[in-house]
């Protein structure tokens, strides 16, 4: 670059941003350094801890996938159609972001609890319960994380040129074929980004999950459980183990979605 313009603003902005990054990284690094190897190994080999971490990872995958299954069609409609009450629907999609998580758990209990209408139906026809089960954990995770799925997928679809869909229809493709062969492949980044962030949001959920199901335990609840039953040293060991799994998952999924963690998701 021949013309180099140094402006004090960029130094100040970089400094402020740098502090923010440090604010994220410092606690993470500090927690790693605070570990006592013997306690870390003890907790890592503990069956309850392993189960809790597996539950978190696996159930978050399930709820992110359910969110994609129902959220992608909704996202496509929101990206393509104008209809009465559209902005109302969009607000409803964002609503879970504004509801405190324990409150979300209480709300879900009204519908999915033993005497809630969906809870009663599932109990009668499938002998399935939500309270105190993995099903309940999925419901809680889904509720708090689905806005990410819908919003990112919608952004992806909005970036697809409508004329590409139109030309596909003139070539004989039905609306579903247009969606399958043109819209979805071209919006796939948005959809995958949505899936990853939904997963990340779901795996970290504590408040809504603890109200629907203390047991079977997910990792955030296990951390809290060990903290109240034992001490900070033991619970921080569980926390660090969970953190490693989360970070690894996040990196892997981001890599799959964007073909590299260095690149930004947006163009």
């Amino acid at each position: 670059m021949k013309f180099k313009r140094v402006n004090a603003m960029y130094y100040i902005f970089s400094l402020m941003g740098g502090l923010l990054i440090l604010f994220i990284l410092l606690p993470i690094l500090r927690s790693f350094l605070a570990q006592t190897p013997s306690i870390l190994i003890k907790e890592a080999t503990d069956k309850g801890v392993q189960e809790a971490i597996f539950n978190s990872v696996f159930l978050a995958v399930v709820s992110a996938t359910i969110a994609a299954l129902f959220g992608v069609p909704l996202a496509y409609i929101l990206a393509r159609k104008k209809f009465f009450g559209k902005s109302f629907i969009e607000s409803i999609v964002d609503l879970p972001l504004a509801i405190p998580h324990t409150v979300a758990g209480i709300l879900l209990l009204f519908v999915f609890g033993r005497y809630g209408m969906v809870g009663v139906l599932f109990e009668r026809f499938f002998s399935l319960r939500f309270v105190g089960t993995k099903l309940g954990i999925i419901v809680a995770m889904l509720f708090v994380s689905l806005p990410f799925m819908v919003n990112y997928a919608r952004e992806g679809f909005e970036m697809v040129d409508v004329r590409l869909e139109q030309v596909a229809s003139t070539l004989g493709a039905t609306p579903f074929e247009v969606f399958r062969r043109v819209s979805l492949p071209l919006a796939i980044r948005g959809v995958l980004t949505g899936w990853v962030l939904t997963w990340a949001r779901a795996i970290s959920e504590f408040g809504a999950v603890i109200i629907l199901a203390y047991h079977p335990m997910t990792a955030p609840i296990k951390v809290y459980d060990v903290f109240t039953q034992l001490d900070l040293k033991h619970s921080s060991a569980v926390a660090v183990l969970f953190l490693v799994i989360c970070l690894a998952g996040f990196v892997i999924f981001r890599f799959l979605a964007f073909g590299g963690i260095g690149k930004s998701g947006k163009r």
Binding site: L164, Q166, T170, L171, G172, A173
Partner: protein, 352 residues
């Protein structure tokens, strides 16, 4: 045959009224009109992206109004070609072939890519292609579907001038060879003249004149059509001889030399832009590199600001546009004689 009857369209700021036209099998119909006249909206209604407010669109005797685009079998060439960026050229061209019964797809594919000379880019993606290549690919993608009607939305306007002229002539040859019924919209008068079998001039949401190119250019129905299509001279003639790319065309027994590749005996249209005609006075006649020199009678001089429009009779009608200064210097006057010259390369030749 395609018929559009009493079509009214209301779409945002565009209002089209009483559009009536029919296109014969294999005919190229061009809608000529200024930007913002609603030409694109008309195409989008014919293909089925929007419903008309009133009127009917009839494809080979069947009312198409209520059919969705995927069941109309109408192709659409967009201004920017709209190639699928996630597919290769080959995949783009074959995109629609699974939705319609097409005999001998492979054979047809080979024939089309050869005709359009895109054999060697089949593995590439659209973002690596030039504008001309993208245009050919989108044409191939539409043609392989054997559409009953092919629509073109100003498909040459985003190309640079040099590519555009070559492709323009080639487009007509290809469409004629494939006997492809086509509806083409443009704001470019020369493009309409070169490509069309018939032209419909659109103004203010209505089609104000429909006719063969020579009718539109030579006998515009009103002042608007006249000023919009300009004063290009269009002549009908027959090829009298052909030698090394130089063709002599017989127009009303006057011989005009043009550069073209047309066999003897064929009927052609000649287009001559008025700014390409030069005038001199009779007594100063000199030898010139211009192949066409005629003695003509000045019919009328019409001042148009800095230039003067000169209507001439050289055995055929001709219009020239020259500066006011030249008119004075050579002492041009009505009813006097003058020598008319234009180059063989300045004549547009349109094969019928």
């Amino acid at each position: 045959m395609i018929e559009i009857k009493d079509l009214d369209i209301d779409l945002g700021e565009f209002r089209l009224r009483d559009v009536n036209l029919s296109i014969d099998e294999g005919e190229i119909f061009v809608i000529l009109g200024p930007s913002g006249a609603g030409k694109t909206v008309l195409l989008e209604t014919v293909v089925g992206f929007f419903p008309p407010k009133r009127g009917s669109i009839i494809l080979n005797g069947n009312l198409a109004n209520d059919l969705p685009p995927e069941r109309r079998n109408i192709g659409f060439i967009f201004q920017d070609y709209a190639l699928f960026p996630h597919l290769t050229v080959r995949e783009n061209i074959l995109f629609g072939t699974r939705y319609r019964q097409i005999d001998d797809v492979e054979e047809k594919f080979d024939k089309i890519v050869t005709t359009l000379s895109i054999n060697n880019i089949l593995h590439r993606y659209s973002k690596t292609l030039s504008g001309g290549e993208q245009q050919r690919v989108s044409l191939a993608r539409a043609l392989i579907m054997e559409p009953g009607l092919l629509l073109f939305d100003e498909p040459l306007s985003s190309l640079d001038e040099r590519v555009r002229e070559g492709l323009r002539d080639e487009l007509r040859i290809i469409l004629k060879k494939m006997k492809q019924t086509s509806l083409f919209v443009t704001h470019d008068q020369t493009e309409a003249l070169v490509i069309a079998d018939r032209i419909g001039v659109m103004y203010d949401g209505r089609i104000v004149q429909i006719g063969k190119p020579e009718e539109i250019f030579n006998t515009p129905v009103n002042e608007y059509v006249a000023s919009f299509v300009g004063v290009e001279t269009v002549l009908e003639g027959k090829v009298a001889s052909y030698l090394d790319g130089l063709v002599v065309v017989d127009v009303n027994r006057v011989k005009i030399e043009v550069v073209a590749d047309v066999p003897v005996g064929e009927r052609v249209l000649l287009g001559i832009r008025p700014e390409n005609v030069t005038l001199s006075v009779v007594r100063e006649r000199k030898s010139s590199s211009a192949r066409n020199n005629f003695i003509a009678k000045v019919i009328k001089l019409t001042p148009l600001g800095a230039v003067v429009k000169v209507n001439l009779d050289c055995g055929f009608p001709l219009v020239a546009l020259i500066t006011k200064q030249s008119v004075e210097e050579i002492g041009l006057e009505e009813k006097e004689e003058a020598v008319v010259s234009f180059k063989a390369t300045a004549v547009h030749v349109i094969r019928q």
